[in-house]
């Protein structure tokens, strides 16, 4: 389990990193926390002649709140995301999803950007990003900065809309305010394993307890993270307390394609688990929303702490 020979580069800035990527092309790969890339290199499942280490770039760190969104630098470690009180207030789903990512040793190195760029269909952050319609900020030497909506970002198994010479520099998450509830439910064989299936739910209630908006993100149930548009549509406008969770689960599972089947379970098994997780997450999120005082979280109350 030793990687093949590669050349290691440690650019001093985002511009330098982008320039190196442009110069070295396909033979280069960005190295962030290394928690996904290094095992693949060591098992010789992947070979790259050049690694460009972005893990120490200040330009990829930091957390800012502007208007109705929270922007996190792509290089922020998963541990930093999970520990940040401001993140927890502004985008509770991120804070609640973080402890489910691997183990603390992995979160100490693994990064938000690495997780999203790696785009594992069972990863938590991509599902949160998709559910909340986050915006992914890419940067390249040739095209400069560009923003990719999450709905267009995850293009297939471990593949994204990033160009080979593009760096993911930041992620902007909308901050939900009002009478909101959030929940993450997932099922894994052991604590820290990639989930067999998982569900993230965000919902907002209006004054008469009807669902004003709903977002359901799913992981482990396809070749990319997924939304559950039929279930979301069925929920909006209904009284949260009157919704049948099992029915939402069924709707969320309807029409799924490419459901993984592996050692841990068949596609049917995943559907059974996925439907149940939708029901459990919906119940938890609607209970939270119903109990919320309606003031909720505002972007301004989210602290800006450097990750």
């Amino acid at each position: 389990m030793k990687p093949a020979r590669f050349e290691y580069h440690r650019p001093g800035s985002v511009d330098e990193a982008a320039a190196l990527l442009a110069e070295l092309g396909d033979e280069a790969k960005v190295l962030a926390g290394g928690q996904s890339l290094v095992p693949m290199l060591s098992l010789r499942l992947a070979y790259f002649d050049h690694l460009i280490d972005v893990s120490r770039l200040d330009g990829l760190r930091g957390l800012t709140v502007d208007g109705a969104s929270l922007r996190l630098g792509a290089g922020m470690t998963e541990a930093a995301v999970g520990a940040d009180v401001g993140v927890a207030r502004a985008v509770p789903l991120l804070a609640r999803a973080t402890p489910l990512i691997g183990h603390f040793q992995i979160r100490n190195r693994g990064t938000l950007g690495g997780s999203i760029a790696h785009a594992d269909p069972a990863a938590e952050y991509p599902a949160v990003a998709l559910a909340l319609d986050a915006e992914l900020e890419a940067f390249s030497a040739s095209a400069g900065r560009r923003v990719i909506p999450a709905a267009e970002f995850f293009t297939g198994l471990w593949s994204t809309a990033l160009e080979p010479d593009e760096l993911l520099v930041g992620v902007r998450f909308p901050v939900w305010t009002g009478r909101c509830g959030f929940a993450v439910e997932e099922f894994a064989r052991r604590a820290g394993d990639f989930a067999i299936a998982g569900v993230v739910v965000a919902l907002e209630l209006n004054g008469d307890d009807r669902v004003a908006r709903a977002a359901i993100g799913m992981l482990g149930l396809g070749s990319t993270p997924l939304r559950a548009p039929a279930a979301e549509a069925a929920a909006v406008g209904q009284r949260a307390g009157e919704l049948d969770g099992a029915e939402l689960g069924r709707l969320a599972m309807s029409g799924l394609e490419d459901i993984p089947a592996d050692l841990q379970g068949s596609a049917d098994y995943r559907v059974r688990v996925g439907a149940e997780l939708v029901a459990r997450a919906w119940a938890a999120a609607s209970a939270e929303a119903a109990g919320s005082d309606g003031v909720g979280v505002t972007a301004a109350s989210a602290g800006a702490i450097d990750g």
């Binding site: 389990m1 030793k2 990687p3 093949a4 020979r5 098992l43 010789r44 099922f187 064989r189 052991r190 604590a191 820290g192 394993d193 990639f194 067999i196 050692l263 841990q264 379970g265 068949s266 098994y269 059974r272 688990v273 149940e276």
Partner: protein, 774 residues
Amino acid sequence: MTETATAPTPPTRYTGSRVPRVEDGRLLTGHGTFVDDIQRPGMLHACFVRSPFARALINEIDASAALALPGVHAVFTAADLNPDVHEQWYSSYGPKVPDTPRPPLASGEVRFVGDPVALVVAENRYIAEDAVELVEVDYEPLTAVADYRDAQTSGILVHPKYPNNVAGGLAGPPPQVVEAAFASAAHIADETFYQQAYAPVPMETRGMVVEWSADTDELTIWAATQTPHEVRAFGARLLGLEPERVRVLMRDTGGGFGQKVVPMREDMCVMLAARKVPAALKWIEDRRENLMAAGQARHEHGHARIAFAADGTILAAGIEHTQDIGAYPTPWPVGAAAAVGLLFPGPYKVPLASWSTTSLFSNTAGRHAYRGPWQFESVARELLLDIAARDMGLDPVELRRRNMISRDELPYPNPAGMPPYDHSSPLETFELALKMLDYDAFRAEQAAARAAGRYLGVGTSTYIEPTATGQEYYACEGAVLRVAPDGRMTVIVNGGSSGNSLETTVIQLTADALGVPFDNVDTIQGDTAVTPFGSGTAGSRSGSATAGAVGEAAAALRAKLAELASPRLGVPPEDIEVADGRAQVRGSGQSSGQSSGQSLTYADLAGPDGVEASATYTAKAPMLWSNATHVCTCEVDVVTGKVTLLRYIVGEDVGPMINPNIVEGQIAGGTVQGIGGALLEHMVYDEDGNPLASTFVDYLLPTTTEVPHIEYGHMETPAPGPGGHKGAGEGGAIGAPPAVINAVADALSPFGVKITNLPASPAALVALLTEAGH
């Protein structure tokens, strides 16, 4: 909770107490010395080219591109290494058993994915792995026997010399012996149980550094092993060297559990290749190799039957057992399987039993020893008892109470061919563990939970196991005790500790045997040049065997000290008592003033060159019986199939404990491995024989989050061996799987679900629930 059954052994200072482990300081601060820590001048690194096919012909091997890579020293194939094998057999079985094939490198045909085909030697492991990718092997893939259950019918032979892929079989009393009892039975329980392949997965993988000195014809081996002396004996035979010219060294070994009990094919290759390279050769197995090629265990099934009278008493029991031995098992697997049949009746009053066992080759990793290699007897029996109880409308605990052997009924015959059970306490540990749980309270809690739609379960498993065998090879353990001029003691034994604390153990025993403070004793282990023979960590023997060896060497040393003291104390040696760190005239007592005329310290007697005595202990009893009951409670999520363990209790009897911390550590380690086997660990192969769980992404070990706090209850029934101590090494791994499975099955009993296939993965449980209409 500790209870001593009969007269306690004489009071001792350290034996029986929770002395902190002397190994812990270095291990917990990261200063252990494992084989990969060994560095030698100019050392070279080995890496294997392994087969990507379960079965294929090797048409040609072209190593030219690999040899052209800078930093590559050699590429060896079967043609280079295999002819150098002088003799290849293991001391425990001797050269005469009909052993299965075991070539160093694959020759002509590869027989499992991971089969070593060539050995690359390079300046470092990175270059070696680069070169491995450049070795071109022309394979001609063939259809494989991917599942041993197809071995007898597939028409494909793993080894041409074994028709129907049968490596051998053994049988005890034939089925006719029990037929009448089954014919007259009021109730018969009859199931076929299947256990998946899983493995020891030691934290430290296999590894070896071998250095050949051509000038002196001497071979030095640093090994990760459970027994340096067997590595020496095996290596000497393999290479045709005098054992005295082979020196084997080890300090710390990070777990063995049977995987490191004897050298395997890769070890043979490294020993053979070391004579052909100009410097020491290091091979450190990586995790993928370990999970793919170090071997598997536990893969077997058995048709098990128990006949009951109307009141639930057992009339007869029988098992027909079949095991997967893979392509290249280590060591000979056929004989070891007999224990499954012999122990199937377990700690119950079973009048009649029959059994048979068959070993089948397949194109998968070879079977090897694993902590309690016969544990399938407990899996089959304990699962079947729970199924029988449910079918008869009895509580499984009640059914066991009606049949279990209690201490005052011993000795009690075993109907399968074992010597009678003795000096143990099955019913007593059973009741102890149930009391620790408060079984009735749990049943009430379970009923309340069920009413609320939650599914809790409780399972028990009781076994009795032969430990510290008197079988010739494993009966033997030597010890040397030395008093330095300043009076400090050193105890020298073979060692082979792979986590089982042999250093602490022999220091405790020595300190007591000579009446000196624990801190005044050192130990030397793991160097065949200076240690006496011992057969190492195997068969739950080390505690008893080292107690015997230290005891006999201490007696010899006391005699020598008495001889030395005799002229100075002016009395004959038989009038001198050697105890509490002194030699004194018998009867003079410590209180009678310490006048130099009456009492001498060991330092007074040692002189400038010290005093030394040695002895070799040979176990006389055929076996010492240890026993235990495991009790587990759990909750099952009936939608996802997830099992959460709630409480885990072990009531056990290994006789008087030398060190309760170490005993509990052994139980915990084995129990966690058993929990893994019941719920998580699975060496899966696909239908072409490809291993699907060759990294820790897919091979799921239990971690701290899956394992509950383990509670221990001790009973101490002394055995007729040194100090009364019995073996503690293997039991945890035997008792745990059935306790866990029974708990899960109990939780799911409202659905009429029966578990006969392991592991109880969430998906497997959901499949059973679905089948049952839930």
